[in-house]
Amino acid sequence: MRTIFFLLRKEFKQIFRNRALLPLIFVAPILQLLILPLAANYEVKNINLAVVDHDKSPYSQKLISKIMASGYFKLSGYYEGYDVAFHQIEKDEADLILEIPDHFERNIVKENTEKIFLAVNAINGTKANLGGAYLIQVLADFNSQIRMEWKQQSRFNEAPTIEVMHSNWYNPMMNFRYFMVPGILAVLVTMIGSYMTALNIVKEKEIGTIEQINVTPIRKHHFILGKLIPFWVLGIFVFSFGLFVVSFLVYGIIPQGNLFLLYGFLAVYLVGILGFGLLISTYCDTQQQAMSVSFFFVMIFMLMSGLFTPIDSMPSWAKAISQLSPVTYFIEVMRMIVLKGSSFADIKYHFVAIVGFSVLLMGWAILNYRKTM
């Protein structure tokens, strides 16, 4: 115990004396949590709309002003013909073209039907999708409005219609940050746990101090514990800081679920991630190697763990990969507990998976760690 205590004291001293690392531990979480959720936003606004109005009737004017009133669109201008408007798309000054044909009003009134042409610039898939969908929604609304005006309302609907009413659960305002912040926090803890552990141990290899340690009678498990406990503590600290200071004070996210459950999961998760860092360090000899290897994995973890894109919409092979990443489970549990208030019964499979990952990664790392060269 005395040995471990001294090892811990030494580790913390070194961490707090590291002028490059220390600010990173404190500043990085704040900055990442402040910048990323604000920037990574799926809500699409300011869709540039180019209008080609051949009709120039009160109805077409009504339609256009209704579209503009929805708040999602910005009128890039009126154009004489489709070709001219398409030129705007080529210059990237318009995302959508709405073409209203000749006799739009007359046909609608007389013949009860008219077609409208919509062209979408699909280079940015999300923007195109959402823009198109918004516009179609506005058109449908416009359509029913006209029907109301022109059709004699019978006492009962002739054809039965189902009107859809919806309410948003767990995130009623559909605030994208509520979705992002817990996920980013999970990734942050992962990065600190894996990078710092791997780099710390490899640094000892690189500058040769491990050689001096290896000839001492220090036990392997003492050394490993002495290395991992500080980063476990740091991981918990950074997580708490992110959860209570940034996410609560800045974004007003109040964890709905049981905090003990959240921290219990985090504690086990960190064991797995530290094991991952230790594992990298047993295979690498220089800090450069360790950095490259851990960067490679963290990159995959970030993109494949449902942080930005939902796992459900991935192809099945990608789903399989994401199931193999411990980060996937943590991000999911974070969102479940923080936003939904899930209980242990809801996350028990995640818990089993993360215990499995921890045992596997830590066990592999310890078996692979050698005091000899």
């Binding site: 005395r2 040995t3 001294f6 030494k10 001293k13 070194q14 004396r17 590291n18 500058i207 040769g208 101090t209 050689e211 001096q212 340690i213 290896n214 000839v215 001492t216 009678p217 220090i218 005091k371 000899t372 060269m373």
Partner: protein, 305 residues
């Protein structure tokens, strides 16, 4: 006889893409208790590999070795508690202070600085004024004294010093060897490796090592005495031309540069005058020729032939 270190047919081979390196080829020797034993050899001779095997951080491919009576493979744990090792590269924590480093290593060995203060006192006094300074900010000589203190902190029975004086100025080197002599008086067996031949005479016994094989083991005096030829030193202002001309001379067995002189061995004795005559014919002036005693380096060169 109780040996402090016993090595029997130790073999170590490194394999890489560029080929196989036989770092140690069936090395055997023994070091007596309380001896100051030197491993003398150029870079790449296998000194560090041997030290790593003896300090149990590297496994040999074959052979047997014991340190302080413990086998390096089965009893590595016992060895780690009773040997001190100072690697060739400074391997202490640069971001910890002198005092913190000492206390840290003392704790790893389950002891304290105070408990063994007597042993390290002589050395520690010299670095004590800087005890609050970080190890990385010490001068080269100070770093070395600190490293030696850390290796001694647990009163080891055997001390391994891997090239402790490489890259150290001559004054510090001299001081360092004096420290080793004092440690020897305290009964610590010391194994020291060095590429400097002039340090060999400071050891009780030395092993000359090259390409993973031991060329000779004996006291420095006996090794020098066993030098088989009379040796001469010769010099002139035009040293390079002199070397070429002596090589051309028919009765030269060998001749090589050695400091400001050339060291010369004749095939047969009593050709001094004839050589001087030969050199005068080649327009050499101010030639100085004198018999000298062989040094360890001469012996090493002789053994390499």
């Amino acid at each position: 006889m109780n040996y402090a270190v016993e090595v029997e047919n130790i073999r170590k081979t490194y394999t890489s893409e560029i080929g196989t390196t036989h770092a140690l080829q069936d090395i055997s020797f023994a070091v007596n208790s309380g001896e100051l034993f030197g491993l003398i050899g150029p870079d790449g001779a296998g000194k560090t590999s041997l030290f790593r095997i003896l300090t149990t951080v590297l496994l040999a491919d074959g052979g047997k070795a014991t340190v302080n009576g413990f086998d390096v493979v089965n009893k590595y744990r016992e060895i780690r508690s009773c040997v001190g090792y100072m690697p060739g590269k400074f391997s202490l924590y640069q971001d910890l202070t002198v005092e913190e480093n000492l206390n840290f290593f003392a704790t790893l060995f389950g002891t304290t600085l105070e408990a063994n203060y007597e042993l390290v006192k002589d050395i520690y006094i010299q670095i004590e004024p800087f005890k609050k300074r970080r190890a990385g900010k010490l001068s080269g000589g100070m770093k070395q004294k600190l490293a030696l203190c850390c290796a001694l902190i647990h009163k080891p029975a055997v001390l391994f010093l891997d090239e402790p004086t490489t890259g150290v100025d001559p004054v510090s080197r001299k001081e360092f060897w004096e420290m080793l002599k004092r440690l020897k008086q305290q009964g610590i067996t010391i194994l020291v490796s060095t590429p400097y031949m002039d340090e060999a005479t400071l050891c009780d016994r030395i092993a000359l090592i090259q390409h993973g094989t031991i060329l000779s083991i004996d006291t420095p005096q006996k090794i020098i005495a066993s030098f088989p030829h009379p040796l001469y030193a010769i010099k002139s202002p035009e040293i390079y031309r002199l070397l070429k001309d002596i090589h051309a001379y028919e009765n030269t067995l060998s001749c090589y540069a050695f400091g400001e002189y050339l060291h010369l061995i004749f095939k047969e004795e009593n050709h001094n005058d004839e050589l001087l005559h030969f050199l005068t014919n080649k327009n050499h002036e101010q030639v100085v020729l004198k018999p000298i005693e062989a040094s360890i380096e001469d012996c090493f060169i002789e053994l390499l032939k």
